[in-house]
């Protein structure tokens, strides 16, 4: 048996877009234990409820993360609407689902590109990001922003989308879908991808439940906890929604779940565009949350379930706002997936969790 050595991994590493540090305890080339550490970019965003009222705070919420910006503003708005007992117009609910699923498409395409880059498939990486650019163009055409959309308000949406814009969105997505089907084939059938990912960093269903894992990371281990199943808002009107599950629990299964979720999201958007009802998209919310009133909410972000909590104090300023992001609850599962892996596989395993540290630290 070789001597144990501790190898620091991150916070700056070619495979990490954000600062995550791991102490890898290795025995020769095998990882015996991995201890994660974050804390380099804590911004104290939750404390800003002291200086921003509940309407202003939505702009803080969407700056938690550049990739899930829309999701955070949506999750926050839904929580405050629950706290204040507000019902928003049906058309706004549909528009929220459309933009949220579009965010999932852009997030998964970004991740698939990063994964392809990490295992050395440069052309696949470029094609994924080329398609993602077209999604960002749709964001720009519909909201004016490519990353921070500022499209949601407590009470509905900032602006409506006319039929021509919704048609343009649909046509763009149909075009993307055809091209993406070819990329998907490369991801799911190419031997070089399978050789690199199959059997790496396996997490069993029992382990996934034990570590309370969420999102595609959990669904790749056959854990069915997709929040969209609960049918909140526009999701309630979907004709059929079945979460994408895999049973192998390895890096390939995680990539496959995300790859197939892109197609599923495009189908959801098309269905919402077909069914969207006429009517207003905003209902003005007046007053302040009652002192001591509390509400919690969950939302399926691209990386998994996100938990939101709000506590009122009788003023327009919240007493407490909490956002628990998917990566923070997935860190323990990630450490488990790294146990016993080859040192060369650490980067792929870390990447297949799709860690977002700016979300985690807030």
């Amino acid at each position: 048996m070789g001597q144990h050595t501790v190898i620091p991994f991150g916070p700056q590493h070619p495979v990490l877009p954000e600062p995550l540090h791991l102490d890898l305890v290795v025995d020769d080339e095998v990882v015996v234990e991995a201890i994660p550490q974050i804390g380099f970019i804590h911004r104290g965003l939750e404390r800003l409820t002291q200086t921003r009222d509940y309407n202003q705070f939505i702009y803080i919420a969407e700056r938690i993360c550049g990739i899930c910006a829309f999701g955070h503003s949506l999750g926050y708005a839904e929580t405050i609407e629950t706290l204040m007992g507000v019902e928003i117009p049906k058309r706004a609910e549909y528009l929220r689902v459309i933009l949220h699923e579009l965010s999932r498409v852009h997030s998964h395409l970004l991740w698939l590109g990063l994964a392809a880059d990490a295992f050395g498939y440069e052309s696949l990486f470029m094609h994924c990001w080329r398609l993602r650019e077209r999604v960002l163009d749709v964001f720009e055409a519909t909201t004016g922003g490519r990353v921070i959309l500022s499209a949601v308000l407590v009470g509905g949406m900032v602006r409506d989308q006319d039929a021509a814009t919704l048609n343009m969105m649909r046509e763009t997505l149909d075009g993307i879908k055809d091209e993406y089907a070819q990329l998907c084939k490369a991801f799911l059938e190419d031997s070089s991808v399978r050789n690199r990912l199959v059997g790496v960093g396996t997490i069993t269903t029992e382990e996934a439940l034990d570590y309370s894992m969420v999102g595609p990371f959990a669904r790749a281990s056959n854990v069915n906890n997709d929040v969209r199943m609960l049918g909140k808002g526009g999701y309630a009107d979907l004709s059929d929604f079945q979460p994408i599950l895999e049973t192998d629990g390895d890096c390939f299964a995680r990539a496959k779940v995300r790859a197939l979720e892109v197609l599923q999201s495009i189908d959801i958007i098309n269905e919402m565009v077909d069914k969207i009802p006429d009517g207003p998209v905003f209902e003005e919310v007046k007053g302040a949350p009652v002192a001591g009133a509390q509400a919690c909410n969950t939302l399926e972000q691209p990386r998994g379930e996100c938990y939101y909590y709000a506590l009122g104090n009788g003023t327009k300023y919240l007493e407490r706002m909490r956002m628990r992001t998917p990566t923070s609850i997935n860190l323990a599962g990630m450490a488990q997936a790294l146990k016993g892996c080859d040192l060369a596989d650490v980067n792929m395993i870390v990447l297949t969790i799709d860690p977002c540290i700016s979300c985690t630290e807030r």
Binding site: Q50, L209, G231, A295, C296, Y309, N313, I329
Partner: protein, 217 residues
């Protein structure tokens, strides 16, 4: 499938037994959060199973009270327990992964327990408003008192400098109102002088009757 969310208070002593029961029943841990209150820190532990989201709340954990860690049951909670220690100063005991107060690189100790000046001012104002409302309700229950007495009682409880300013402002307001009333009487007299004498006499009588009525009231 409707999403069922619940909040339930539990005691600190029953935290571990509750977590053990939930673990046995197949719940997963969602998160833990802290709320800073006047009576200490409130802890909320959230667990989920199928469409249920249950929040268990431990109220008023004061400085020096140890909170048992549940990481041995739900390791996924380690970032939140360390966060509670770093940002709120909650003493969590028996953590599997304990970063000893160095989980986050923060510029000040326990930053979530510190109020910004704006928040403190707002909180003080709300507390004063609540105290005044309570005092008013108490007076009403005891039979009430004259508004002037009420005002004097309020001024007596104030900072003397502030009370003097309030008194000066009220005197100025009274003077302004008296001047405005005199001006109004002059205007009416001018209007009556231009009226038909019979009609003017009727208006005068009505005004005097109104004045007498207000005086009696």
């Amino acid at each position: 499938m409707a999403h069922e969310r619940s909040f339930q208070d539990i005691s600190l002593d029953s935290l571990v037994s509750t977590a053990e029961r939930l673990k046995r029943e197949g719940w997963r841990c969602v998160q833990m959060l802290c709320v800073n209150t006047d009576n200490g820190v409130d802890l909320t532990y959230s667990f989920s199973k199928l469409n249920e989201l249950a929040n268990y709340q431990v109220r008023g954990v004061t400085q020096g009270t140890s909170v048992p860690s549940i990481q041995n049951l739900f390791l996924g909670i380690f970032p939140f327990e360390n966060e509670a220690k770093d940002l709120f100063g909650v003493d969590i005991e028996g953590m599997v992964l304990d970063f000893a107060g160095k989980f986050y690189a923060v510029a000040e100790r326990e930053p979530m327990t510190i109020l910004t000046p704006e928040a403190k001012e707002r909180k003080d104002k709300e507390a004063k408003k609540a105290a005044a409302a309570a005092a008013k309700a108490k007076q009403a229950a005891e039979g009430g008192s004259a508004p002037a007495d009420d005002l004097e009682a309020k001024l007596a409880g104030m900072d003397p400098e502030k009370a003097a300013k309030v008194r000066a402002a009220m005197e100025a307001k009274a003077r302004k109102e008296a001047a405005s009333s005199a001006q109004s009487e002059d205007d009416i007299e001018a209007k009556l002088a231009n009226m038909d004498p019979e009609k003017a006499a009727k208006v005068r009588a009505a005004l005097e009757a109104k004045k007498a009525k207000e005086g009696n009231a």
